[in-house]
């Protein structure tokens, strides 16, 4: 790796990693999930899992990347042996498969940003715009615009990522603060705050609340995806790990909390009668159908609608950039120059994102298969840390040179015992939930079946294990 491939400062690393963590899930998923899972009680469980899932996994990923200076495949191979390289490959596969459709999501945000700016959303019903847009070829165009922009950023290496993050992330924070302040100052907004924060303590006895809180942390902090590991490859040798991991975890959840307040205060101030319908409308329904209607009904709504979609676009693009870098880093570790690797990855995302751009069913299927796959990815990182030696990782890397705070032995227990249990319980719960009320649960071609997960995972894992064997043989031969 050339000396140029390093973050210029700690703030560059933190902002780029925050950009990775803060995505559309913070803005469009968190408010819905907290609203439909006991409000204040859910927040308690959500904070608990920030501390016993997200932050410990982030620390492990930082340590892996900083120690090995390699992408997910190389890092796992270096840490616990070449024969386990496929486990790092799984993280790369999940992140790349998510990039295929996440680029489409970012494209939707760009389309709605344009519709807000041009006034199209003020004159056209949002549900009609959404139906017309998603049934046309336009999503391919916006998907290609996003992937081109992201490739252009990653093309210039980590310096390009850092420069963009330094502009977009502070701006994103300011935009979310503006929207939150506007929402809480709307007449009737206190009802939204009351709905969000009133605790229902009996809900804490319901295991589903805890599983939803863990899922939210697993999906919206980016812990266990391999993305933090990838950015850690470029951190300075004497850079802190534990404080940075905590800062990113708390920063990400700060944005989620603001988004929750913003969305629920807006809903209760503008259209309280439709709260159940809005919360139950799904990610796309809430964001692209209901939010434009709510903004249109408030004073200076077009301005706030534009700010909302601008924030969403920034959040999506900075997360997308990290996924491309993850895939490109693994290709570069195979000896391919950066620009060629980025072009290959960009081309693959452009082509394989098209099915999701054309069909919401394909999109939903891919979101389901690889979203659950991320939990397996988190499990692999925890198992890798366990096999390598958690005490060694903690004392030599996490608490190593440059650390601002020291992490105690509690981390050893959390990463080697708790995180694997959490990951296994989550995967089993999600698959069981998909099977219990679905008579076609083994149907491979159903969007949300267990069968589609098993088949796609089996194909991916088989390919990765075979590729890993070939890679080891090639290394031995040379």
């Amino acid at each position: 790796m050339s000396s140029k491939e390093q973050f210029g400062s700690r703030w560059g690393l933190i902002l780029a990693t925050l950009g990775m963590a803060v995505g559309t899930g913070n803005i469009w998923r968190f408010p819905r999930i907290v609203a439909s899972n006991g409000g204040g009680s859910f927040l308690v469980a959500w904070v608990v899992f920030l501390l016993i899932w997200s932050i410990p996994l982030m620390m492990a990923e930082f340590a892996f990347g900083k120690r090995t200076r390699k992408g997910t495949v190389g890092a796992i191979s270096s840490l616990i042996g070449d024969k386990f390289g496929w486990m790092g490959g799984w993280a790369a596969l999940c992140a790349t498969a998510i990039a295929f459709y996440y680029s489409v999501v970012a494209g939707w945000c760009v389309r709605y940003l344009w519709a807000s700016l041009s006034g199209e959303l003020a004159t056209k019903e949002s549900a009609v715009l959404w139906a017309n847009f998603t049934s046309s070829y336009e999503p391919i165009l916006t998907h290609l615009v996003v992937i081109s922009a992201c490739v252009a950023i990653v093309w210039f290496g980590v310096k390009g990522i850092e420069r963009v993050a330094k502009v977009l992330i502070p701006t994103l924070f300011v935009l979310v603060v503006i929207l939150t302040v506007r929402a809480v100052t709307l007449p009737g907004a206190e009802k939204g705050l009351e709905f969000l924060f009133t605790p229902d303590w009996s809900a804490l006895a319901d295991y589903k609340i805890w599983l939803e809180a863990l899922t939210q942390n697993a999906w919206d902090t980016g812990a266990g995806w391999g993305l933090i590991l990838t950015y850690a490859v470029y951190m300075k040798a004497r850079e802190d790990i534990p404080l940075n991991a905590c800062l990113i975890g708390f920063g990400n959840n700060s944005v989620s909390l603001m988004a929750g307040i913003m969305v629920l205060c807006t809903v209760f101030a503008i259209n309280p009668a439709a709260q159940n319908e809005i919360v139950g409308a799904g990610n796309e329904g809430l964001t692209f159908i209901w939010m434009p209607q709510l903004f249109a009904a408030m004073p200076a709504g077009q301005i706030f609608m534009t700010i909302f979609f601008l924030a969403l676009t920034f959040a999506a693009v900075t997360s997308m950039v990290s996924m491309i870098e993850l895939a490109a880093r693994n290709v570069m570790d195979g000896g391919v120059p950066r620009r060629k690797a980025v072009a290959w990855v960009g081309g693959a995302v452009a082509v394989f994102g098209i099915p999701s751009a054309l069909s919401l069913d394909v999109f939903a299927n891919q979101d389901w298969v690889w979203g659950v796959g991320l939990m397996l990815s988190g499990l692999f990182f925890a198992l890798a840390a366990r096999k390598f030696g958690v005490e060694k990782l903690r004392t030599e890397d996490i608490n190593g040179e440059g650390s601002d705070i020291k992490v105690g032995r509690w981390w050893n227990f959390v990463i080697s015992v708790l995180v694997p249990i959490e990951a296994i319980v989550l995967m089993v719960w999600w698959l069981w939930s998909a099977a219990k009320d679905n008579p076609n649960w083994l149907d491979v071609f159903s969007s949300f079946s267990v069968g589609t997960v098993i088949v796609q995972w089996a194909i991916g894992l088989t390919a990765l294990i075979l590729y890993n064997r070939w890679r080891i043989k090639r290394q031995e031969a040379s």
């Binding site: 700690r10 927040l43 009133t198 802190d240 404080l243 800062l247 708390f250 601002d404």
Partner: protein, 35 residues
């Protein structure tokens, strides 16, 4: 707003946002000390 909602709001916002600002301040001080 009811009292329990106000208490929960103060606790959650205090912990999450307060935690973030505390950690950010610590990082800023650490960088200042290093330079």
């Amino acid at each position: 707003m009811n009292t329990s909602a106000i208490v929960m709001m103060v606790l959650m916002c205090g912990f999450v946002w307060g935690g973030f600002l505390f950690l950010l301040t610590k990082a800023i001080r650490s960088e200042a000390d290093k330079s």
